[in-house]
C-alpha cells in the first residue's frame, strides 16, 4: 500500500459536516440533519455515522445514505489495541455497512469502547493507556483494520477525565500515526479537556505534532461540572464551544494542509440553536 502522504491526496474534501449515532435523531429537540442540509447545505456537507455493528443505521441515517449524500463511518464498538476485537464476523459486517453507506473513510475514538469482550452491557469509552507499547498495539490494530476493509482508518483523540501512562497525549498519537502511517481525527474538544486536566494551555505541544497527519477535526461544546469540589468539563456536545476548543480549532485548521473535514458535533440540539455556531465554525475553515 502507498504511503499516507500519497493516499491522503485521494481522500475527498468533505467540508463541514455533522454527526449522528443510532437513535440520536429521535431524541426530543435533536438536530434534524435533513432540515439542516436543506436550509444550510454548507453546514451539512456530509454526515458522520456513529455505528455499532450490532445496531446498524437508524432511519435518519438510512435516509441520508439512500439519498446518496456523503458520509464517513465512525465506529463505536472496537478496541483497536485488542486483536481479538477484529473478528471476521464483525469485520465483514462493518465492511458491508461502510461500503453500503459510501463512507469516505473509517474513524473513531482510539480507546476502549468496551471492557472485556464486545457485549451489549460492556460499553464505555476510555482513553488508551499512554505508553509506547500501547501506541504500537493501537497502530497495529489500525493497520489491520485498514487492510481488512480497504478503508482509510483515522484514529480519534478520545475523551477522558483520567489519563494514565508515561506519555503525553499528542506524542502518543504522533507515534500511532507514524507506526500505522495513518492520518488523525483530532477532536478539539477532547484535546481541550485533556490539556485542562493536565494543567496546560490549550495548544501546548501542538507545534511538535506533525499536523499534516490531521485529516479531520471535531469541534463540540462542553459544560463545566463539579464533583466534590473538583471542576471538570463534560463533553456533552452542547452548541457553545468553550474558548480552549476554539483556540485549538483555529490553531490546527490554519496549519493542517491535509484537512478534509470538520464535524460540528451538536446532534442532540435543535437546528435553531446550532446555526450561529455553525457559521462561526465555517468562518474558521473555508
Amino acid at each position: 500500500m502507498s504511503r499516507f502522504a500519497e493516499r491522503v491526496r485521494s481522500l475527498p474534501r468533505l467540508g463541514l459536516g455533522v454527526s449522528t449515532e443510532y437513535g440520536a435523531g429521535d431524541a426530543p429537540g435533536a438536530l434534524d440533519v435533513a432540515a439542516l442540509r436543506a436550509a444550510h447545505p454548507a453546514y451539512a456537507g456530509f454526515l458522520e455515522l456513529g455505528v455499532e455493528v450490532a445496531k446498524g443505521l437508524d432511519a435518519h441515517a438510512a435516509r441520508w445514505v439512500a439519498a446518496g449524500l456523503p458520509t464517513t463511518y465512525h465506529f463505536l464498538d472496537v478496541n483497536l489495541d485488542e486483536p481479538d476485537d477484529l473478528d471476521p464476523t464483525w469485520l465483514a459486517a462493518l465492511t458491508r455497512l461502510a461500503r453500503g453507506a459510501g463512507a469516505a473513510w473509517l474513524c473513531g475514538d482510539a480507546g476502549w469502547w468496551h471492557f472485556g469482550a464486545r457485549d451489549r452491557n460492556h460499553m464505555l469509552l476510555l482513553p488508551p493507556v499512554l505508553t509506547a507499547s500501547a501506541a504500537d498495539a493501537l497502530a497495529d490494530g489500525i493497520v489491520a483494520l485498514r487492510e481488512a476493509t480497504g478503508f482509510e482508518v483515522l484514529p480519534e483523540t478520545p475523551p477522558g477525565q483520567v489519563f494514565v501512562g508515561d506519555l503525553d497525549l499528542m506524542p502518543f498519537f504522533a507515534r500511532v500515526c507514524e507506526r500505522a502511517d495513518t492520518g488523525l481525527l483530532l477532536d478539539c474538544a477532547h484535546l481541550a479537556i485533556y490539556q485542562r486536566v493536565m494543567g496546560r494551555a490549550p495548544t501546548d505541544g501542538l507545534d511538535a505534532f506533525p499536523l499534516d497527519r490531521v485529516v479531520e477535526l471535531h469541534v463540540a461544546g462542553g459544560t463545566e461540572g463539579e464533583v466534590d469540589g473538583y471542576r471538570f468539563v463534560e463533553d456533552d456536545h452542547v452548541p457553545r464551544l468553550l474558548p480552549a476548543t476554539w483556540d485549538i480549532y483555529r490553531h490546527v485548521a490554519a496549519r493542517a494542509p491535509n484537512l478534509k473535514a470538520v464535524v460540528f458535533e451538536c446532534e442532540r440540539n435543535p437546528l435553531a440553536a446550532c446555526v450561529a455556531p455553525f457559521a462561526q465554525v465555517a468562518e474558521v475553515w473555508r
Partner: protein
C-alpha cells in the same frame, strides 16, 4: 504488565468507589493480586481521585442494563433487602473485569450467592436467557457432532415456575408486591433465544427433556438418536425429533 492490565484496573476504579479509595490509600496492597508494576500502580493514582467520579451515573446505567436482563432476579434481591449496586464492590465484578468475563453472567452469579430456592430459580431462568442471547447456551462441539444450540439452554426447575417468573417480572415492572413462589413437581425448561434476541421458554415432556439433556454433550447424531431410543423412542421417532430440533435451531449440527 500489559496496558490492558492497567486499563482493567482503571475500569474497576471507575465503577467501585471503595476499591478506588483502597488503591489510593495503599496501591501495593490493593493491587497485590494484579501484575501491575510499581510504576503502573503510580500511574493509576496520579490523577486527582475525584476525576474517577465525574460520571455520576456510570454505576446506575450499568445496573439498569443488568436489571433489564435479569429483571425478576434483581427485583427479588431488592425485595430481600439486597442492594444490587453492591455487585460492583464484589469479587464477582472485579474477577469478571480481570478475566474478561461477561458482566451480566457475573452479576447473575453474584445474585445466586447465598440465594434461597426462589431466587435461585429466577437467576437460573434469566441467566439462561442471557447465555442464549450471547450464544453461550449449548456447548462448542467438534465437526460431525450434534449438540444443544448456542442460543438454547436447559433449566431444571418445578412446574409452575414459568408462570410465577412471568408474574414476578410483571410485579417488578408495575412496582407491586412480588408473588410468592409456587411448589410443583420437578421439570426441565427449554430456553431458546432467536437471532433477533427474542426468547421463549417451555416445559419439556419427559422424553424430550431426556434427549436434550443428553445433547448438552456434543456427540455424533447416531449416538444422540441412540440416546433417544434408550429413553423409549422408536427409531423413526428419534430420527424425526432430531430433525425437528435441528430445523428449529434447538440443536446444531457441526
Amino acid at each position: 504488565m500489559s496496558a490492558a492490565g492497567v486499563q482493567r484496573v482503571v475500569v474497576r476504579m471507575l465503577f467501585d468507589p471503595r476499591f478506588r479509595d483502597a488503591v489510593y490509600a495503599d496501591p501495593a496492597a490493593a493491587l497485590a493480586a494484579t501484575d501491575l508494576t510499581a510504576e503502573e500502580r503510580g500511574w493509576v493514582v496520579r490523577p486527582d481521585r475525584r476525576a474517577y467520579a465525574t460520571d455520576v451515573t456510570r454505576q446506575a446505567r450499568a445496573l439498569l442494563a443488568l436489571a433489564e436482563e435479569l429483571p425478576a432476579a434483581t427485583a427479588w434481591a431488592r425485595a430481600a433487602g439486597r442492594d444490587p449496586a453492591e455487585f460492583f464492590a464484589s469479587p464477582a465484578w472485579h474477577g469478571c473485569v480481570e478475566a474478561r468475563g461477561v458482566m451480566t453472567l457475573a452479576y447473575a452469579g453474584w445474585l445466586a450467592e447465598g440465594a434461597d430456592a426462589a431466587q435461585a430459580t429466577l437467576v437460573a431462568l434469566e441467566a439462561a436467557v442471557a447465555r442464549g442471547r450471547r450464544g453461550l447456551g449449548g456447548p462448542r462441539g467438534a465437526a460431525g457432532t450434534v449438540a444443544l444450540a448456542p442460543g438454547a439452554a436447559l433449566v431444571t426447575t418445578t412446574e409452575g415456575a414459568l408462570a410465577w417468573w412471568d408474574a414476578v417480572r410483571g410485579a417488578a415492572a408495575a412496582g407491586t408486591p412480588l408473588p410468592a413462589p409456587v411448589d410443583g413437581p420437578p421439570c426441565v425448561v427449554l430456553i431458546a433465544v432467536a437471532a433477533d434476541g427474542a426468547s421463549t421458554a417451555e416445559v419439556l415432556a419427559e422424553g424430550l427433556a431426556g434427549l436434550l439433556t443428553a445433547a448438552q454433550a456434543p456427540q455424533p447424531r447416531a449416538a444422540l438418536e441412540a440416546a433417544g431410543r434408550a429413553l423409549g423412542l422408536d427409531a423413526a421417532d428419534a430420527t424425526e425429533i432430531v430433525d425437528e430440533l435441528l430445523a428449529s435451531d434447538v440443536l446444531i449440527a457441526r
